[in-house]
Symmetry: C2
Subunit: 208 residues, 2 copies
């Protein structure tokens, strides 16, 4: 077979694979990642306690929650996720940012340059973060093998159809985040899930 | 020209028109429509006062607001829209329904069979509605001439692309609502607008 014909065949097979693979959907409510040092300022005499393991290996929701205070309003019982990170990060929905009265950019986790700060309050004390507040950009976690199989790489964006009753949606601008430890899962926030009437049983299909 | 060829040409022209016409986007925050009788129970000695005309002719946001009370939480300062209607109706986002702790179906405005009720509270008194709470199904208002031009009719559903920074979305299941007095406008709720990073300057294009 000619190389050109072979390449064409490979593209066809990749397209077929993309359209077959069901991508589980994870819905992220607002949450906070903290450095160990920031955690200790909010909970000086309380160890972080695992409430529930999350789908991505090693990640967990803790028993600890804080109040986020904006200029216009506050949000109570925002959960701290673990393990501790190298930089504290607060992930909100756009609905949340309007309630708080703050302007927040849409960013991939970890991309915190020029992001706004916020005030956090626990039952023991308070903490001002100078930056680290984002609205999470939608993305798909996958292993490096899955990325190779799907013919996508880190930083690519794809379009994902999620079918539902009354509110089917195609999400464009879904960024690919492959990693050695990652399990296949598309992360949406609560606004995105609600716009698509999406539940934890929903799944997506890459259509482009 | 043969009739078949002519029909094909017409279809092509209609498809072209659809792809050219820019559909303005209206973003609906949670709001309430009341019967005159229900209004008077909440505001016995206060005339409804226009705060702002809305885009659809005759519709207005009033100065009056109430608190909605659910089993889990409440939402304050929910605006009453006018004019009065034949049946009271409360329109919430799915984010709101989770905050209130109630289960609400996605329905077109006016389609209130088997919808849940809710408690409303003004500064003067309170009122229990037996039904009428919905999450609005997304839809496009248009004149009957615009519907004819676009080759769509009442009850059809279309797919609409809304481009934006970081969060472009194709909304499927957008229902067509033609009417003599309607102006061309797609109505989304705050969850849908936030999922697409959509502002009041955004517009949609029918792609299917």
């Amino acid at each position: 077979m000619e190389e050109k014909v072979l390449q064409q065949k490979v593209r066809e097979v990749l397209k077929k694979i993309k359209s077959i693979i069901k991508i589980p959907v994870g819905i992220s409510n607002h949450h906070i990642h903290l450095t160990e040092s920031d955690y200790k300022k909010l909970f000086p005499n309380e160890e972080i306690k695992i409430k529930r393991e999350l789908n991505q290996p090693g990640e967990f929701a803790s028993e600890q929650t804080v109040t986020i205070k904006g200029t216009k309003g506050k949000i109570e019982r925002v959960r701290i996720l673990g393990p501790f990170r190298a930089h504290s990060q607060v992930e909100l929905s756009l609905t949340d940012t309007r309630k708080l009265g703050i302007k927040v950019p849409i960013r991939l986790s970890g991309n915190l340059t020029n992001t706004p700060g916020i005030d956090l309050e626990s039952k023991y004390g308070s903490l001002h973060l100078d930056d680290g507040v984002i609205v999470a950009k939608r993305h798909i976690h996958m292993s490096e093998e899955e990325a190779a199989l799907l013919g996508v790489k880190k930083g690519d964006t794809v379009s994902v159809l999620v079918n539902s009753d009354e509110r089917s949606v195609v999400f464009n601008d879904v960024e690919i985040r492959p990693g050695k430890k990652f399990k296949l899962e598309m992360h949406l926030d609560t606004d995105e899930a609600n716009a698509g009437n999406i539940s934890r049983e929903s799944f997506g299909k890459i259509i482009d």
